[in-house]
Amino acid sequence: MAGLVATFAPTPPGFGCPPLDLDAPTVARARQLAQHIAADVQARLADQSTVAIERTVLRLFGVTGATADGEPLANRLVAQLHAADLLAGGVAQPFCQALVHTGLTAQALAQAVADGRVDLRTHAGARTGQAQAVGAQLAQAGVARITARRQERQALIGRLGQGVQPLKYVIVASGNIHEDVIQARVAARQGADVIAVIRSTGQSLLDYVPEGETTEGFGGTFATQANFALMRRALDDVGAELGRYIRLCNYASGLCMPEIAAMGALERLDMMLNDALYGILFRDINMQRTLCDQRVSRRISALAGLIINTGEDNYLTTADAVDAAHTVVASTLINEALARQAGLQTDQLGLGHAMEIDPLRPDALLLEIAHAALIRHLFPGAPLKYMPPTKHMTGNIWRGHVQDALFNFVGVLTGQGIQLLGMMTEAMHTPHIHDRYLALESAQLVFTGAMGLGSELRVEPGGKLEARARQVLDEALVLLDEIAREGLMTSLSRGHFAEIARSPTGGRGLDGVFAKAASYWDPTADAITQALIAHGQLS
């Protein structure tokens, strides 16, 4: 089943980044250090689980819905156990035990617990063979549902076809899923290949996933399973009409990473912003919590054939674009290693990068090309997600529109996979309906005109462009070396990334982390591992 993974659009022939003469041993060493760093993190966190992971187990078992006051059933159940200090063995054991005992379906049981008719706490203890069988069966069913959605995607792409790289990625962010749907469908008609539904400002810090269709977000619309389903249907419809599969993107990020990954997998999302580092740095989420959560979320995404997008494109919004360019490179290498360890394949690695170079600075375009080409050469075959300089966008929409066009030029010249399209109104509001159209039209113009250019130009050997790429790589190597020596978590407390320092025990969500007991059992993890091995994604 290799190749089935993300079914990413193949690069058209004769379209590629100009070759770059990088020092092969440096590249190899950098990748080796990143793998070491990633392995070390996983080892340190191997014995921990989180409330979010346990809620994910329930969701994969088929539990959905919320109580009358809006608390998701998954939350109610896990919180109850956690409060009673009965979570160390995992939620699966008491839940499956109760299933066996009551003979209810997973959903009915969850409802019964929430209603106070069943008390899970009384079922905590050692697991019986029967419970184990029920758990394994439910986990299998969950995996099967995800695999079915993945095959569905595969079939749809086969039938409809898809956009040409760089895929044109735009956001919708009205705060109201129904307006988002209109705007997403309009965007698809104007040429968008990927629709990302931006989340409301507050959601990443919510320790639950809201329920139902929502109409009241700020700066974005809540990620809910119902909203996912609604948007998926809308994009499938318009995609069928247009004869082009339209990808849907959301955020498996924040305090509910693995749960949202599961929901996305079940609703056939195609991409997920998914990055613990982003949460740590930009949302002050506790690093132990979110690194644990991330691993599970990535395994689910791996299974779902989803592309993940990492958040390095945000680093240089707070740090200096030129001085700190190497931190983006170092971080993408670490993120790649973490992703591969979770079973994600090359064509699922939508590593994010953005250089945020002041466009008024001399040689801005030269630096931008050097950085973009460097990352392109470090991750051949990966659908890199390339983000425009957002922080230099101002109320001057006219110049901004041109800045975005130049950025699009760099994207197509260097063969990026997914081009997040800048909007001229970036500094003002989440996009208006026509902002997206204008961005798409401009990108199409640039892409059409420059499509073949990357293959027709060469970098001057020994010139400034090559020198800059090599310099950034060298600096990244030094940083990776330091991180490998002190460990990622210590490094994060030193403020290496985005000029932000976070401590291992600070931030939000640490109370949701717990040490697994020896008896800890998670049948969904087992089922996913088996499936990933079967698909050749893990060995």
Partner: protein, 246 residues
Amino acid sequence: MRAVDPKHVRAYGDTLDDGQIMLSFSLPVPFGEEAKEAARQLCRQMGLEAPQVYHAHDLGEGFTFLTVYARSPHTVDTTQLRVTKMDTPHLGKDAIEALASEKFTRKIRVLGACTGDDAHTVGIDAILNVKGYHGDKGLEAYHCLAVRNLGAQVSNERLLDEARAFEADVVLVSQIVTQKDCHRSNLAALIDLAEADGVRRDLLFVCGGPRLSHQVALELGFDAGFGAGTLPSQVAGFLVQRLAAR
């Protein structure tokens, strides 16, 4: 979600009825807070709410360029819109030729020119030359039409003289330069001259150019007008059908 009310349609940014619009203009007011306030006041005079100056640039010489977003509370009743459109249906070349061979025994004589000081021939050539426009053959390619193209910078007087000499049925006039509405005065002057010469009724007068429309042409006393992106077959179809209806 609320549906659009066709009797009260407002501008749309990202939410129904949010009335979001963008304006940009320059003011002969020196750059600064006063210029921004002047821009806001101008917007308020247009009935706009909450004008936000997002970009103000000092042009120098006492001028400021401004880009403003505002909310427009105005509504349009889209059930009451009236648009002057050409009423003859759009036919293809074959259908036009067929209609002509049925209705006329001789070729329709078409005289074209770009008039006044205007030297932009690409538009009239696109309509007349065999090559045509966007894959649609020009009037010279029509069996039913006899075409003469006088080219550019033809005076109204000469145009009418040539029309007489050519025994034209139709006069096609192109006007591309529009500064200070010179196209309007040029075109109106042609009709006046034709009236004075007593030939207005004998000929079909048709004009075209990027800033013309059927509506404007009628206002100027022409029989028809064609705007940007016109295809030759639209023009041929109009001529043949209109003359056939006479």
